[in-house]
Symmetry: C3
Subunit: 158 residues, 3 copies
Amino acid sequence: MTDAKNVVTGERLAALGLELPEVAVPVAAYVPAVRIGNLIFTSGQLPMVNGALSATGKLGAEISIEQGKELAQICGLNALAAIATLVDLDEVVQVVKVLAFVASAPGFTTQAQVANGASELFGTIFGDAGKHARSSVGVAELPLGAPVEVEVVVAVRR
Amino acid sequence: MTDAKNVVTGERLAALGLELPEVAVPVAAYVPAVRIGNLIFTSGQLPMVNGALSATGKLGAEISIEQGKELAQICGLNALAAIATLVDLDEVVQVVKVLAFVASAPGFTTQAQVANGASELFGTIFGDAGKHARSSVGVAELPLGAPVEVEVVVAVRR
Amino acid sequence: MTDAKNVVTGERLAALGLELPEVAVPVAAYVPAVRIGNLIFTSGQLPMVNGALSATGKLGAEISIEQGKELAQICGLNALAAIATLVDLDEVVQVVKVLAFVASAPGFTTQAQVANGASELFGTIFGDAGKHARSSVGVAELPLGAPVEVEVVVAVRR
């Protein structure tokens, strides 16, 4: 789905060996992303690949920090795909806020390193405009047993 | 509190057998909702009915998915009541974002079905304008032992 | 760092025996705070003092409610310092939203009292403009073993 509309971001994704996934539109009363004015709020993104979670489990148990970071990158990529349902990604002028939920076994306190998987993706793709405010927290359980969930707010050109 | 100011939403709530509850203004340094420009951010809403939690416990333990969904609907209703302290609900032009926290016993991973209780309420009340971005996560504990907490961002007519 | 630019808030902080800490700029793809239009979103703030957590542990276990409340105040102070990297604090016209994550041992359900440490700080500093929407939730684990993490959205003069 790296198409002509997302020239710059498409090239940067390709340089990382990544491409925008198709968005699975939820069969529910909610949507992948909503635009209001120049802000876009995404739904919480799970590390889905081709419609299935690429891993389940918790950090500090089944999932290593390195794996968690890769999963957070997938969440970030899915957030970009959600945003791309509404605008060309080249119209993103600022990644504003990232909230990373990390399913954490007792004693796991390295949520920030996991969240870096999403943060560094945005930095690589958007440069200075990718530098966002961020919270990362360790939660008890995530939908479907996902190890990570990431929601994003971006600003776009008016 | 379904009054003349909220004609359309009032009728839709009534059709569901629901009405807007009174808002318990917190005795604290925070308020039920804040408006800034055309956005309204609500405080996290617990499933309070007449000033008391309608249930306590966790999903995956004392609380079934079906109960949890009903509790999330109550949270959603309380969010509408919080918004109605600031504007007529008929002025809501978009439900932007829903964040649902579900108190989850180990192994409970069906947070999304619980959150649907709030999401489907907004869909019924606001139609397409009720389709929002959403995150649902499973947390360790919620205030007062509540099974669900829901916070909402909406956009209103300027 | 209570300087001439933050006259009013500086005096109020001083009256509480507090002063704005230096901000540790994260060595990461994220930043302490981002401004977009008249809104500022902060990163999640931990109770860091001089670059180290002032306590670790969970509410309901190692950390008492009173301690937790003090830690939440430190998080709130750090949020103000993050905002002050972008604007004079006297330009804050409204504290919009506070999201407080409280690391909670099983059965701890008094997250709201802990979060009051941040909420009451904002009330004291900003008066009515400090009255915000708020969610407080109990999470499994927080980064570095922090007992509390607080993120904030404020509106500033255009």
